[in-house]
């Protein structure tokens, strides 16, 4: 699995830039970097001269400017340029480090976003707080529920209404350097045991309560989403026992894994695929005892300044021929069978990105209450302070 995308294409300036972004991404993981630095509002205006590309077909209805809030390195910049060329609407891209930060900004108001990319467990909260509207599906003809994998779409529904449509999905698994660790690691139970033995001083867990506490719960046979105090107490006992053996509590694990300072870490799909692509000895495994599966969605804020443009871009992104470029650029798996058909064989045969259905069965979606539960937040604080 080396250089699995666009093998035959000669490199263009845009692709070179894309490669540089990839390189950059390899050393500093997106969400964590922004989260820890608070640089969440770093803004890039991709197309500053909308007038140059004004097309008569849409210009009157859509305005000349719109804004999207998303994760760093999550899109193909060419997608937005093509959208601007087609519609005359310039797309301003705001990148964020965490769902919490996005939520806080939207709650404070005045964001000006016309489209944004929340993760599954926040959708119901956004809906409850009245920050997003039910989507008007008549404006999204390119979205076809029948080609979507229902596993990933239902998190975007609240009370049977569609508030968000999926962008891509992923998992939270274990990246393990097989040239350093000989013990088999195939479950979260193994993860925590090996962390205290063979990988002593070489293991990383996320600086994120959802996954760190969730996976500790799973290793003990409980639900990833448990908020029961007795189960959380056992997870806390485990985490505090493991802590002296950890290399770091940090969601920016790629640099340490690449330098082989760390040999094993909790890991998200995209990072797992990138690590494995560049260092084949780093395997990415899903816990056979469970763990997390997630979907990032597109939703339109109630406060959007330019809803027509928000819908237009969303509809544009839902077209398989556009979505396929996005998936090739960011590497995360698609929820849409039409896109799946268009993706190159090297991408779809990658078991890290597209694991067997059976291995997904024990995984759970993070729940809204898991993220907001004060008990888990306090547990995490005690774990980090221990």
């Amino acid at each position: 699995m080396t250089k699995w995308y666009r093998e035959n294409a000669p490199i263009t300036a845009v692709k070179l830039a894309d490669e540089l972004m990839r390189l950059k991404r390899g050393s500093v993981t997106r969400r964590h970097f922004l989260g820890v630095t608070g640089l969440g509002f770093a803004t890039a205006v991709l197309a500053r001269q909308p007038g140059l590309f004004n097309s008569t077909a849409f210009a009157g209805d859509l305005g000349s400017q719109m804004s999207i809030a998303t994760w760093p390195n999550y899109h193909d910049p060419a997608t937005f340029e093509a959208f601007t060329a087609a519609t005359g609407v310039a797309v301003e891209v705001n990148v964020f480090g965490s769902n919490e930060e996005m939520l806080a900004k939207l709650q404070a108001g005045g964001t000006g976003w016309d489209l944004f990319v929340p993760t599954n467990y926040t959708i119901s909260t956004y809906a409850k707080l009245g920050l997003i509207d039910e989507l008007d599906m008549s404006q999204l003809p390119n979205y076809d529920p029948s080609t979507q994998n229902a596993r990933f779409t239902h998190e975007g529904m609240v009370d049977g209404k569609t508030y968000a449509v999926p962008k891509n999905w992923g998992t939270t698994g274990i990246a393990v350097n097989s040239s350093k660790i000989k013990a088999p690691v195939s479950s979260w139970k193994d993860f925590f045991e090996v962390a205290m033995t063979e990988a002593d001083g070489r293991t990383m867990v996320h600086d994120y309560q959802l996954t760190t506490i969730g996976n500790a719960l799973v290793s003990l046979g409980y639900s990833f989403n448990s908020i029961k105090s007795d189960e959380l107490a056992k997870a806390e006992e485990l985490l505090i026992r493991v802590k002296p053996h950890l290399y770091a509590i940090n969601s920016d694990y790629q640099p340490a894994m690449r330098a082989t300072d760390a040999w094993m870490t909790m890991c998200w799909t995209n990072d797992g695929a990138q690590l494995n692509r560049d260092m084949p000895e780093i395997a990415y495994v899903l816990g056979k005892d469970g763990g997390e599966i997630w979907t990032d969605f597109y939703a339109i804020p109630k406060s959007a300044a330019n809803k027509p443009a928000g819908y237009a871009l969303l509809n544009y992104l839902m077209a398989p021929e556009n979505a396929v470029k996005e998936h090739i650029a960011n590497g995360a798996p698609t929820t849409d069978s039409r896109v799946l058909k268009l993706l190159p064989e090297e991408v779809t045969s990658n078991k890290i990105v597209y694991p067997d259905e059976a291995s997904l069965t024990p995984l759970e979606f993070g729940a809204a209450v898991t993220l907001t539960d004060p008990g888990r937040a306090e547990l995490m604080a005690r774990f980090k302070a221990a």
Partner: protein, 277 residues
């Protein structure tokens, strides 16, 4: 006339210091909304909850003065060299060199240290001469190194300034009266530079009380400081009232530290003016 001159600064302070602080105070007595954030209330629950972050406060209160003293040990000889020993022709260049790193963000420089201390950095060089398996990154030593590196210029500059305006005739007088260089240093130079030392120590201590980046990046996030607790409360669990209560408490701690530092400075500096803040 005076009022007109003061107005811009006063307006600035009101808008960017007083109002945010009042907002923080209001939040600190409120409650966390069920989905996170803030909802109005009047409760002392957030302050009652402070003991749950006692470890973080303790770690911070230990780290800040320790880091500042370590900085002082490195900074004093440097400042002394710059102010007293260095060739006056090159002094300006040398002083500029101390300040130049500030042109790059501390974040970027700290990331650079991650690579220097990581196993492809210094440990890799050491392994070439046969010293294997040295671990530097994510150790307490790495955190101290990062702190000294990051805050050194802030310590050097005030000490440099107070040493530079030192009246050389006092040193000559001391020597004329038979004092050895060492006793001149401890009897004349050091006491006269104390205002600068106290300024540097207070400055670095206060900034260290809010530090979270260096422990996070060079310490592997395994040591929890009050800055880290605040980041988690605002950016992860979205518990703004509790975060505000901690922030208010931290401000109170900073004020106390400042007052104690000033008192000590007054005492050691005798009746002389202390330009601390």
């Amino acid at each position: 006339m005076t009022a007109a001159l003061v107005a811009p600064a006063a307006a600035w302070l009101v808008v960017f210091l007083v109002l945010p602080f009042v907002a923080m105070l209001v939040f600190a007595f409120g409650e966390r909304a069920p989905e996170g954030g803030y909802q109005p209330a009047f409760t002392f629950a957030q302050f009652a909850n402070l003991p749950t972050r006692a470890t973080a406060f303790w770690n911070t209160l230990m780290l800040a003065p320790a880091g500042a003293l370590l900085c002082l040990l490195v900074a004093y000889p440097t400042a002394y060299y710059l102010a007293v020993k260095a060739n006056p022709r090159f002094r300006l260049i040398l002083v500029s060199l101390v300040v130049v790193p500030f042109w790059t963000s501390l974040l970027v420089r700290t990331y650079a240290w991650m690579y220097i201390l990581g196993s492809r950095g210094i440990p890799n060089l050491l392994s070439m001469i046969g010293i294997e398996d040295v671990r530097l990154l994510n150790t307490p030593g790495a955190v101290l190194l990062g702190i000294v590196y990051g805050y050194l210029p802030l310590m050097i500059m005030p000490i440099y300034v107070s040493l530079e305006k030192l009246d050389r005739r006092l040193l000559e007088a001391s020597a004329d009266l038979g004092a050895k260089p060492a006793s001149t240093f401890f009897g004349v130079t050091l006491p006269l530079s104390l205002p600068g030392v106290m300024t540097g120590v207070a400055l670095v201590t206060i900034l260290l009380l809010g530090e979270y980046l260096i422990p996070q990046l060079l310490g592997g996030g395994k040591v929890f400081f009050i800055g880290n607790a605040l980041v988690d409360l605002f950016l992860q669990s979205r518990n703004w009232p509790f975060g505000s209560a901690i922030a208010v408490t931290l401000v109170a701690v900073v004020v106390v530290v400042l007052m104690v530092a000033m008192r000590i400075a007054w005492k050691v500096a005798g009746t002389r003016q202390v330009d601390l803040v």
